[in-house]
Structures are given as structure tokens and as C-alpha cells.
Symmetry: C2
């Protein structure tokens, strides 16, 4: 909603000159219709409006039937409550091959987002496959790794099919350490890899000796010392409690994780110090400056949250949302494991010096699971300090959270936002509301270079394209009472 | 400013019944004058107003002359810039006797606030003296310690006279470890003791075996391991940089120090882990849950900041503000080391279960040095989450910061507040503005039980009483051009 400020004199003339008496006008839809009366002296309030379902009559009819259906409402209540009931307790760190069946033998790895063949992958994800093949000793060099991947000698699986999540390329290979995180309420376990920190990281598609050296160190020293520290921790490490605190401390726990990373490091520090022989002190050196550290924790906790609400019959809540750098895909609670996809959106943001939009890969990674669980872009109001990193203003951050609340089923009870007087963050995207309003879920995200081998070049905001939601809506059945 | 809501019918009658036409009235000063017209249907806006200098004509004349004086303005500009120029680099932790001359021999200790004799001390400060005497082995038991203190066998000095600060009772005795913090820009060094954490702490006047055991451990294990970790740190530990970040993370670094404490612990963790033999791992266990840890860092950095602006001839900026639990006192840049005192104010706040205002000691401790440097109550808008701890609402926290800006010389450039669109925190209280407006500086603080031996019973808000400021104003000279 805004007030027309057009000062075009011809527009005023077209409306018939100046008004004799003041007039208050509400203009719905096309904004330019409000300019002539405004120019003539009227107070014009422009309301944004688009026809439901993008003006598609058949879809509009279906949307109306779905929206009015009490069985869907009940299913969504159930899915929503299950999502909110989930806990996320950090239990261990082990090599991925010990935790994820499909990685237990042969040349297999996981990647982020909906399914994609190696040749179709975006640059940063291709680099991730190549780097993982080198890390595992499957290939002699980058060319050899590329050839093997192309010939199908390395089997590629989707993270979300194996209760795993990984940021950006999201590559998880057998020797990489993964966190094991449990939701005892719903009896689920999920996995994620360890964050490599900022700078040149495989997840962004960086390759090279420095990247490989760090990955080896993560497997050989960080993973084992961290696992020991977690197993010996004095209290259970409750990722939801840390997340709730971090939202009071300026994080939205997707693109800003400073408070949560610091808290998690403080929590683990005594255990790491006690496991100096396994690499604990080196781990503390690494964690001292890693402000992205909690991102993977945030993702795996969000995965447990959304998964708890998955597979509720007739529910129209989105339970997965991820991107492989070419396509974005969503899954819907009542529609099982089917992906509904759309070409990936561009990211609007701020670039590191020397880079610009022409270098950027489209939106990529599993990290949008945080938005799926009411964090990241949905909790933007909690992180006013992020605007210096992803762009925007403090006010626009607050407006974004409130706009997201128009497409969710409800609000978190535990995840509260101080600048909104401790209202909960909006959670549980209802695909009916997205199609009805045309409001697309907002995501805070990093920007990877589109070519393999380079890495992160910025950070910003993007959206989950409407097309995924209309496609999913078409697949929904209208339940009979 | 608020709108009159009085619905007393007789008031309306007194104003002459209902108005024939709508009327907008601005009522300045006595609020009840606005009620009759409001009752009669007028829109009344009550503006708060008090006569300058509390209606004291002589003081009012002097205030007018001081306010118009360009030499004072220039002196305040200079003091303000010096205050903002200060840095605070953590250099070491050593026993107090090695850092503070007056503690180098004999039975001597420091206490918070303006001067006070042992017999006149508040309960929590008395307990601090007794506990310190036991810690140092000067006394057999509490009675013996009390007798020695009463007979002047233990000499008592003020922290601020020795570039030291201590929260609550502020007792620093020779064997207690102190942090050594340097301001290389202005060539100053300041000291503070180590924070004992929440719960039963000597600074709040708690006594007993648990309290003494922790104090011994702090001297023998925490201090030495911390000193080693600081000396070996990879980068200088810059307390102003940590403070600036903490203000983006929901701390006002007086009564909420969660982000800063966590960051400081993460920063020191590798060094502590490397000094396991000195007590480093025990220190990490202790720091894992100490969310008050940074308070003392915040105080000593603020001391260096305010001290940099002290002793600027003719400056009317407050450079020290502290409380001994009976009196509060301020020092003014242009008035040297003279204290201007007032009886200590009550604290309005939230109490731990089982305690209430009748148990509370009045405002106590050196921690108001943080407000003197534009933090704590002055930065309340940075810490919306604190309202659950000290009372109030998010909006009232924002209003408090903006009200404090009306009595300061300017705003921090480095210490910014996200909810105010990154405006700086107000800093440099000008005593002329306090006397002129009657707006008293707001402080966030803990509440100690008034009896010795018990400890903290709550937290809340209080103010620096106007009387200190009018007394100081009387001592100012009007400079001649």
C-alpha cells in the first residue's frame, strides 16, 4: 500500500482538472489508475492486488474449492502442530558412510535440491562432485572426476531422499563427517555436513589445494574431535533452544548465524579442549572465526521440523523447498515425495568487489529448508543487522516478515522476533495462500559464481517462484467430506 | 506526550459543558489542566514540561549563562571527541596487588562508588569487605573481619581513584585477579576484577563456603589461565569491537551481556585450551554458562572511554557516575575528581521468586560507568530482549534511548543501534541538559539484597538522581571569553 506521488500534469488534465472538494479514493490493482485523481488533488491509496491464481479460471475455481475445504484445514492444523512439536538434539558426528545407507559402499554421493544429471548441473554443483571424487580418492584429477561423473561411474542421489541437507552444492560423500541430529518427539533422525567457513569453500564450487586440504582436515580432525565433544557434553545440545536465543540476538539463522555459531562454539569448547589429541584445539582455532558455522545446524533442525509435518494426507503445507542451481523444487505434505519444480530464480544482492550479477549462479542449495521452517527470509525482522550484507533496510526487513505471515498457516510459538514485540516467526507455507496472493516465499542466501572452481561472490535475497506452487496446486485433490 | 483520558463529569461541567465545535488544545505542564476541556470534547495533547533548574531562579540564571557560553561548547566538543577516540585492548590478567599500587602492601582494598566508611556501608558492600578479608586470610571469621574493618585495620579506597571499576560492591583485594586493559590512543590503563557469574556472588553480598571456594578458584585457576590465553592470543582482543558487535546482537552490555560474553569466550577458547595445565579447561566449563562474563569488560572499556574525556577545563560532561549502595556520585570533566552526591535511588524491576522491593538494597556499584559511556540504559533500544529481565516493553526501550539522547552531547559513531536504523547510541551526558530538562540518566542494573550475605534478588531500571547534577552545576564557573 502506498500513496500515489505521480505529478504528471497531463494525467491531471485527463481526469478533468482540479477537484472542487477533497476526495479520498482507494485504487485496487493497476497502480497507474490512481495517478490522475491524485494529480487532481484526491488522496489516493493504492492497494496491491492480483487476480487469484494469476487469472487462470480453472485453477481459480480449484483454488476456491480447496480454500473452502474443512478437511484441508484440519489436515493443515495437524501438519502445523507436528512441525512445531519437533525437537532437534545434536547426538554425534560420524563419517557419512556410517550414517547414510546409500553412501555405505561404492562411488555414491548426495547433492542438494531436486534430481539432476551431472551434465545438467550448475557450475558450483559440478565442482562439488569433482571435489568430492578427489577427496574420496576415486579420481586422479579434475578431468578424470568429470569423465567418471559423466559416464555414471559416480552415482548421484538427492539429500532430501536420505534425510540429509547440505548448503549450496550440498555435496556429501562417504568420508565427509556428518552431524547426527534426532527428533525424539517424532522419532526422526536427520544429517548434515560440517560447515567449511567463509571464503573458498567446496559448497560454493571452489576447488584447489587449499579447499582440498581443509576438507581433509575436516574429515580427519574436526569431525572426530567434534563427535567426541558432543558425546561427552554435560547437557544435551538442543538446536531449537540455540535457534530461539539466536533470534533474540540478531540472527535469522540462514544468512546471518553469528550469535548461534558463537553460542554453539562456547557450548562445545570444554569438550573440544578435553579432546586435544583428536584435534579439539585446532577445531577451536577454526571455530573462533567461523560465523557460518551454525548454518548447517539450522538446516538440519529445520529439516526435522518440516519433516515432522510431512505426509499428512490432504495437507497443503510446503514441507521441502530446495534448489539445485538450475531448478528449484518444492514438496507438499499431502503430496508425498513428488517434486514440483520451476527454473531457479536470480538472487538480488550485494556482491564482493570485482563481481556482479553477470557472474552469479541462480539460487542454489538445500538451505531454503530454513525458510520452509519459518527462518531465514521469514525471520528477516529478527536480523536488522543483516541488511548491510544482503541489502534492504531495517523497515523492509520487518515488512518482509509480515508479508510472509500472509502465506503461512501460523506462527512459531518458540521462535520469537523481538522487533515484532515477540510475535512468533511465520511458519508453514500454505501453497493455497501463495497461489491466491501471488506472494512468493522470500529467501536470504549466498551467491555462488556460476563457473566451477571459484566460490562465493556475494549474498542477497531471492524467492521461490510461483510456478512450483501452481504446479503443486494442480496435483492436489479436493477431499470429499 | 499523551492524550487526556480523564472522564470525570464534574471536570467537564467546570469547563462549561460540552463544546459546540471541535477544539484542539495543547496543554503544557500540569496535566490535570487538560482534563476539563478533554471531558468537554476537545482533543487535548498534554506536553510534559518542568521549569528549568526545578524553578530555582538563581540556578536558572546560572544555567542560562552556562548554556549560552561558547567556551563550554568548545570544551565539551573536545571532551566528547576524546571520549570517542578511546580504544580498549585487553592485555593481561594479573593479581590486583601487581597492578594497583594501593593494593601492593598491607590490608587494603577497593570498593565501588564515592567514599564511605565501613559502618555506613550498605549490606552487600559490607559483605564484600568481609569476604575479601577472609579470602586474603586477614581475618579468622566474619566477626573478626567486621571488627578489623570497623577499627580501620583494613584500609578502604575508591575504585575510580585507582583507574579500577567493579560491579555492585566492587570489592577488589590484593590477591584477586584483575584484567589490565589499555587505551593506546590516550595512554591510559584501567583495571577490573573477573566476573563471578550469576547466582551467589560476593559482588551481590553473598557469603558462604560456596562463594569463597569460587573466589579461591578464580584467583588460583581462572586468573592465571586467562592471563596466559590473553598473552598468547592470535589477534589483539579489542573490547570496543566486541561491544559494537554485541549492540547488533541484542546486548546493551550492562544488564544483558549474552552476545558479548559468548563472543569473548569463543575468542579466548583456543588459548584457554592450550593452557589446560593452568586451569584453562575448567575456565571453559565456567564460561560456558556465564552470561554476565562481559559486564566487567564492558565496564573497564567504558572507564577508559569516559576517562579520556576527563579533566577538560570548562567541560560540563559527566565522566564518572557510580554508587556505593547508600549514595550515588558523579564527577564532571571540568571539575576534576570532586564527587557530587545524592542518596541512592531505588531500583524498579523484576524480582526473583520470594523477594520484593522491601528486600532490595538501593542502587549500587560502578557498573553505571557503562551508562556514562552511552551503554546500558542509554542503549536500551539495542536490547529488546532485555525487557523480560528488567521490565518494560520493546517500545519503551526505544523511547528510553531517544530520551537519553536529549541529555547527551552527541551519539557514538561506532556503537550503533539496529532498531534505530543504526543511529549511534547517545553518549556524553551534559549536566546542563540534565538540570535544564529534569531528565535523569536511566540505568539498567541488578538488585542486591539489602542484608549482607544473601546476594542478587532481581534486576531492573533506576536513575541517577537530579540532585547530583544540580550540586555539580552550582560548582561550575562561568568561563570569561
Amino acid at each position: 500500500m502506498n500513496t500515489a506521488t505521480d505529478t504528471d500534469q497531463s494525467a491531471a488534465s485527463a481526469f478533468g482538472g482540479m477537484l472542487a472538494e477533497p476526495l479520498d479514493i482507494v485504487n485496487i490493482g493497476v497502480e497507474s489508475f490512481g495517478a490522475p485523481p491524485a494529480q487532481a488533488g484526491a488522496t489516493v491509496t493504492n492497494l496491491q492486488w492480483r487476480p487469484p491464481a494469476g487469472g487462470d479460471d480453472e485453477l481459480g475455481m480449484k483454488l476456491a474449492a480447496l480454500t473452502a475445504n474443512p478437511i484441508i484445514q484440519k489436515a493443515n492444523d495437524e501438519a502445523f502442530e507436528k512441525m512445531l512439536s519437533a525437537r532437534a538434539i545434536l547426538k554425534d558426528v560420524v563419517p557419512a558412510r556410517e550414517a547414510i545407507d546409500v553412501l555405505s559402499e561404492g562411488k555414491a554421493l548426495l547433492h542438494a535440491g531436486p534430481p539432476i544429471a551431472f551434465d545438467d548441473m550448475a557450475g558450483p554443483m559440478k565442482a562439488g562432485v569433482i571435489g568430492a571424487a578427489l577427496l574420496e580418492g576415486w579420481a586422479q584429477d579434475e578431468e578424470d572426476a568429470t569423465r567418471q561423473a559423466r559416464e555414471g561411474k559416480i552415482s548421484l542421489h538427492q539429500t532430501h531422499d536420505h534425510m540429509a541437507v547440505g548448503p549450496m552444492g550440498g555435496i556429501i560423500s562417504p568420508s565427509m563427517p556428518v552431524m547426527v541430529v534426532e527428533d525424539p518427539v517424532n522419532g526422526n533422525t536427520a544429517f548434515t555436513n560440517l560447515n567449511e567457513g567463509a571464503g573458498r569453500a567446496l559448497r560454493y564450487g571452489a576447488l584447489g589445494e587449499d579447499v582440498m586440504k581443509r576438507l581433509h582436515w575436516i574429515s580427519e580432525r574436526l569431525g572426530p574431535s567434534l563427535g567426541a565433544a558432543i558425546r561427552e557434553a554435560e547437557e544435551p545440545i538442543d538446536l531449537r533452544s540455540i535457534t530461539a536465543q539466536a533470534l533474540q540476538m540478531g540472527d535469522e539463522v540462514h544468512s546471518r548465524n553469528q550469535a548461534a555459531s558463537t553460542m554453539t562454539t562456547r557450548e562445545l569448547a570444554p569438550g573440544l579442549a578435553r579432546n586435544a589429541d583428536l584435534g579439539g584445539i585446532e577445531a577451536l582455532d577454526f571455530l573462533r572465526t567461523n560465523n557460518y558455522w551454525f548454518l548447517n545446524f539450522s538446516m538440519v533442525a529445520s529439516k526435522l521440523g518440516t519433516h515432522a509435518g510431512h505426509n499428512v494426507k490432504h495437507s497443503t503445507l510446503m514441507t521441502t523447498f530446495s534448489r539445485n542451481g538450475v531448478n528449484v523444487g518444492i514438496r507438499v505434505s499431502g503430496l508425498g515425495d513428488q517434486w514440483f519444480t520451476s527454473p531457479a530464480a536470480e538472487v538480488e544482492g550485494l556482491y564482493f568487489p570485482g563481481y556482479g550479477p553477470e557472474d552469479a549462479n541462480p539460487d542454489i542449495g538445500d538451505s531454503a529448508i530454513t525458510e520452509t521452517y519459518g527462518l531465514g527470509g521469514f525471520a528477516l525482522a529478527a536480523a536488522p543487522a543483516i541488511v548491510g550484507f544482503v541489502g534492504g533496510t531495517v523497515d523492509s526487513a520487518i515488512r518482509t516478515t509480515e508479508e510472509m505471515a500472509t502465506i503461512t498457516h501460523g506462527r512459531h510459538r518458540e521462535y520469537q522476533i523481538p522487533t515484532l514485540n515477540f510475535k512468533g516467526s511465520p511458519v508453514g507455507v500454505d501453497i493455497r495462500k501463495v497461489v491466491d496472493s501471488g506472494v512468493e516465499p522470500v529467501i536470504t542466501t549466498g551467491i555462488a559464481h556460476k563457473e566451477p572452481g571459484i566460490g562465493q561472490i556475494g549474498a542477497g535475497l531471492t524467492v521461490a517462484p510461483l510456478l512450483c506452487f501452481t504446479e503443486a496446486l494442480k496435483a492436489l485433490e479436493i477431499p470429499e467430506a
